[in-house]
Symmetry: D2
Subunit: 423 residues, 4 copies
């Protein structure tokens, strides 16, 4: 292994890596190993990880339940790279996904492997929606985050990231996310008004793309009734409904899909991050069978067949989604975090809780304090990041698999850090 300590490591990266790097600036350590809810640096420091790969590690780091399957697969020379050839690993994943995830939820979706990242899934979803409808316009929501390639970026809200495109981002129009106007407007009053008005100037959308909980946008939770209203609006107005479940899917909010609670059935769903189980790149685009108008090869990509991911993805399904207990546990733990946050809010001014399941946020009236609290938490051995348009929200995405002890330990560190900052 390397002989560099964390301080020396920073020099290495400063020398060779682009200025675009960011997380490493907040957490100036040289990380080496990780297991479950913990990550360890070269200096031997251990950190409790309430960030979990921004939602890519719902089952914790290097989950021992999948690790053996992964090592076995590699050891026996299972195909690593398979493009979209038929492989055993892919077939087994598909079977598990179809029978244990889709069928019990009565979802008649076909599965596309669009490339192994969330933005690949979003791009394919937008392309498909446009191809199906023959329209170009997409409606997205305020504070949405969908990815960094041009199609996804055009439906993403963040102004700094949009500016990175270097071309005007068009074909998208933002509409207010749930509660964006603080209850001052009736849901969809503006959106439906312009859709119904032949003179509004809104290009009729091919699709609406929405996150049920906006993680990057600041842990903004859409209510079930708002999502139901949106689904009905889409049906009435002949627009496809795309749920981007890249961050909130795979059990983050409790159920496998974050939209289950609301009872809606999106036309298209994107999954990535934790779908691979072990933190390996993988993504899926799901859509109603009648929307499958793709030509063979019309959307492709080299790493669509990252077979080791299929192995751990199947293991994740088998281990965690054969019954409803995992979802129950997630909801219970989410509530436990929420309760801790609520207590904290009652004791202190200037903060507010947001969240659903194991995505929980603490919004600060003073944005700077959110960052300071996270920095303090890091000093005390914990990873947590901020989000929101002004980075004003501490966003917790702990592994769904963390123990109650770990949960309490993390919340102790964090609440102490917050109170120190607020004092």
């Amino acid at each position: 292994m390397t002989t560099q300590n964390s301080a020396e490591a920073e020099d290495t990266f400063a020398k060779y890596e682009s200025q675009v790097r960011s997380y490493c600036r907040n957490w100036p350590a040289m990380f080496d190993t990780a297991k479950g809810s913990w990550i360890t640096d070269v200096d031997g420091n251990r950190y409790l990880d309430f960030f979990a790969g921004a939602g890519a590690l719902n089952y914790g780091h290097n989950n021992p339940k999948f690790k053996e399957a992964l090592i076995d697969y590699i050891s026996r020379d299972g195909i690593t790279h398979g493009l979209d050839m038929n492989t055993v690993a892919k077939s087994e994943f598909l079977e598990a996904f179809a029978t244990k995830i889709l069928a019990p939820r009565d979802l008649d979706y076909v599965v596309q492997f669009p490339g192994p990242t969330g933005t690949n899934a979003v791009e394919s979803a937008l392309k498909l929606a446009r191809k199906v409808t023959g329209r170009e316009a997409i409606v997205n929501f305020t504070n949405a985050f969908h990815g960094m390639t041009l199609g996804s970026l055009s439906v993403t809200g963040n102004a700094m990231k949009r500016a990175g495109a270097g071309i005007p981002l068009v074909h998208s129009t933002p509409m207010p996310f749930d509660n964006y106007m603080g209850g001052a407007h009736e849901d969809f009053s503006w959106f439906e008004r312009v859709l119904n008005d032949e003179g509004s100037g809104l290009n009729h959308p091919a699709a609406v793309i929405v996150e049920t909980v906006q993680g990057e946008g600041g842990v903004n939770v859409a209510r079930a009734e708002w999502l139901q209203g949106l689904a009905e609006l889409c049906k009435r107005q002949d627009m496809l409904l795309i749920v981007d479940d890249v961050q909130m899917g795979c059990g983050r909010t409790g159920d496998f899909f974050s939209f289950e609670e609301s009872g809606i059935t999106p036309d298209i769903v994107t999954l990535s991050k934790s779908i691979g189980g072990y933190g390996l790149p993988m993504a899926l685009t799901l859509f109603r069978r009648e929307l499958d108008v793709w030509e063979p090869g019309e959307h492709n990509g080299t790493f669509r067949g990252n077979n080791p991911s299929f192995v751990t993805a199947k293991a994740a399904i088998d281990n965690y989604w054969s019954d409803g207990s995992f979802a129950e546990e997630t909801k219970r733990k989410g509530q436990r975090i929420a309760d801790r946050f609520e207590e904290l809010c009652q004791r202190n001014e200037g903060i507010k809780r947001r969240g659903r399941g194991m995505i929980q946020g603490l919004a600060f009236d003073d944005p700077e304090k959110a960052g300071k609290a996270c920095a303090k938490a890091f000093d005390n051995g914990m990873l947590a990041e901020t989000s929101g348009p002004s980075d004003e929200v501490i966003k917790l995405l702990p592994p769904l698999t963390l123990s109650d002890d770990e949960l309490d330990q993390g919340m102790d560190i964090l609440t102490a850090s917050v109170e120190e900052v607020l004092r």
Copy 2:
């Protein structure tokens, strides 16, 4: 393992997977394991792989030299998913890449991890070029292939794939690739004429994006002098030169970078496919240090830190790029394939050889015959695919590590298949 045979497998995929799948249609087998130049299906059939993950498997399937490092890393719970945090695996990869690849070639590039696929690298390259220059337009070349997300797709030539965008693809103008007009035009005569003419109507480009050999476009090889002319043109006309080395880099043409032979130094280089060594998703965007104008986090993505890839990527550099012998061997073997193709062309009408190093193509006057020959080769235990606007070229991308025996065996199968078809 599964009990499905290849025929049953097809049913599974037909039932659950989108119509967009394509390779599996040409090679109707259920693949399971792979090693070196060989891939094996569940029925026990072995196939000699002259396709090699479309260039993602330059070091062969599951290269035993990296396999142990990978298993060790996983076994010791090395961090799997690290976003852009500083990790030991990343640091070691960067050191190896900087000292063994960049420094000896006198390339003062900084490294961006743009997300783990080629199209992520291309999107980031285009964004950076636009940000640096403040211009929007990009010049691409006829028959270019750069990826399927909107930014990359807009500089890709294939009409069917472009139509998949569902919106008009703009901001790009195609220029003739080397020899596109069959020698009827002087190189760059049209391109430079419109650049010099204030009245031409061409939006002055931020950048030119080029492949040194167009793989998907039909194994079109740009001559060194053409690339030199292009580099000089870019300098004269204040345009950034982006070499997309996703498929042709990592030694495919012999040298690590495909542009080395021509002596040019691109402003921006994209790498993916074989950079990870083992077929795991990974990509890099390299650019001159002065172009590093990114804001922290201005381009991001969940799977930028696929650390197992960094381990095998480093192993690949250590094992194959510590001296020049691997490049020499690749050139030698490439010549051996070329010689076999030239003999074949002399014996038969209606075919022509194209290629450089270990990317070799056989162009058919009658496009249908190319596909038929590949189908026959598959029946005889060999994977090879077609490319080109009408799928008229058999494109060989064998592992660079294949043995001379394997090479001869593959060429025997292929030439027999071709001659059977041409007869």
Copy 3:
């Protein structure tokens, strides 16, 4: 003269003219001469014109006060076509406009002659706003109408007209016009919210373009306080404010500029339609002196110097705008029409009045009845058209110069027609 009667004329046009023609379909007569408020067909029928060239004939048809000046100018061979050369007619117009219109209103605008139609003026306004700010996005309002060339069309609301573009119309985002939500939202609550939110996804606009009264949009009147709020919002948010006064300027609402009443000073103003006085093509783009960043010739056009228009435009200023009496009279007559409409509304259900000054509308709950009433009015010797997204509003634009008798006569015809339809 022709020997065709109105019926024969229709055949001529059906034979030679494109299907795109429209007004002639509602008013199937062959018109020949016109004077003041009256227009006469070849069959000798006279029609009271409450349409007045869609606002291009504020001073009536062939106003005798300008007619002599026009004939004199033509007779003495004054330059007809002058591009943007300095001419006596242009100089005299400019002096009159600067001293009698701009100076008394304390407007330090420079004058651009952008081509002789409203859409030319709008296109130049949008180009200038983008050039000044370096931004591309424009905010327009629901039910806006700004013209049929691509730039203007992209900020126009009507879906049928937008579809005519044949390309996706982008770079514009509609915001709610005054009272669009029926008072349910606070003014600008949504607009300012997304401007203030770095994560909203709205591209920060170069400019906002607005009509003070939307004529084509259905006679939607913006309140003075709404316009003031908009002007302040533009200042706070660093957006240029463009008032498109093509239809509502030149005294239509009373004052010369329709925005005078609200006390705001737009950054850019467009004028056309009645600016030429006699119904001859002419248009102006006015803007604050500091915004004059045009290069010489950067926007041009063949008919910018339609000198006969300058002669009648000057005559109009001299005759009608040397003091405030014309504005007073317009307001008085506007009120007289409004009163008649209010009485009508009190007597009947299903209609509502809208309007300001001499732009007055009658909105029908049942859109079909608006068209039927206009058809009846035509049968009874009167021209009036409908507007609004569903053509549900009778829009009156009588000449500002009509007499009280003509006014009453017109209102008698119209109210009878309306009541007949409503019965």
Copy 4:
């Protein structure tokens, strides 16, 4: 009249008018009256006009043959402003145009009145071509000029004018105009190659827009065989052919339409500038009857019915196009100018003649000298302008009606000015 002299006039304009004004900078006089080939300033200076409203005054200034008709029409209160209502003036124009222009040339076009300027006509042509084909892309030619509104500007070549758009101009791709590569390439070799190649990356065009002689582009003349080749290419490749005859139509090259000589029949033709006869704003879009897919009102505009123009337009047809003599005379005089230019070129180095009919250009190796020669000509009582991407071409557009004496007098002034500059 004014008491200003030309010098004082400049102050007036500097004070009130935008910097965008341009012609007045080259010709610093205050013009007042004009007749035939002559224009007179307030100081009594007379100038021989070889510019003729940039082609809007083919019949000379204030042609006495139309003047009376115009004054009569105004005097008898003929309708001035008629939108697209049926009027006697319009009907008579249509009859004359259909029977004397279209029918004898066997052109089964319908007529659209798209608004009174060239750019209105071009915008409507592009919209129609896109609507008919369902495609967005347009091919234009190097050094094209089609107008300043966004649609027309996107197919215009000049970089300075394009920059004025303030948004990236897209959906258009320039192809080489006739002789653009100096004979080095075969006609259409590049254009047809990319059309035939499914991998070229060119979006298949809805239409090709072309000028038969590029006036603003530097008097570039397309040969008849090139135009024929283009027409055939359009047919083969299912693209509509739009001839923009705004500047070269109405007899400028001899025949009424500039494309008659080549024998092609465009799908769509635009006319403006001289179509009104007297220099009054007017424009037409002509297209094959089967392309008339417009909805009523889908493209509209306030000044489509500028009836005084219809009166003089009809008079122009009656007076000049009842037989072929006017075309003959134009060709003869054009040849006379060409001969004078050829002599001049033989006597001097550094200049070359270009042109067809009464559009004749003199291209200078040293662009500055072209402007200097025009300035000298102005000092000697003559108006002539430069064109071309570097303003390197003196472009002569004399009235077609000028006498041989005037022609000789003008050529004497000009050749002397040129020789003085070249000396």
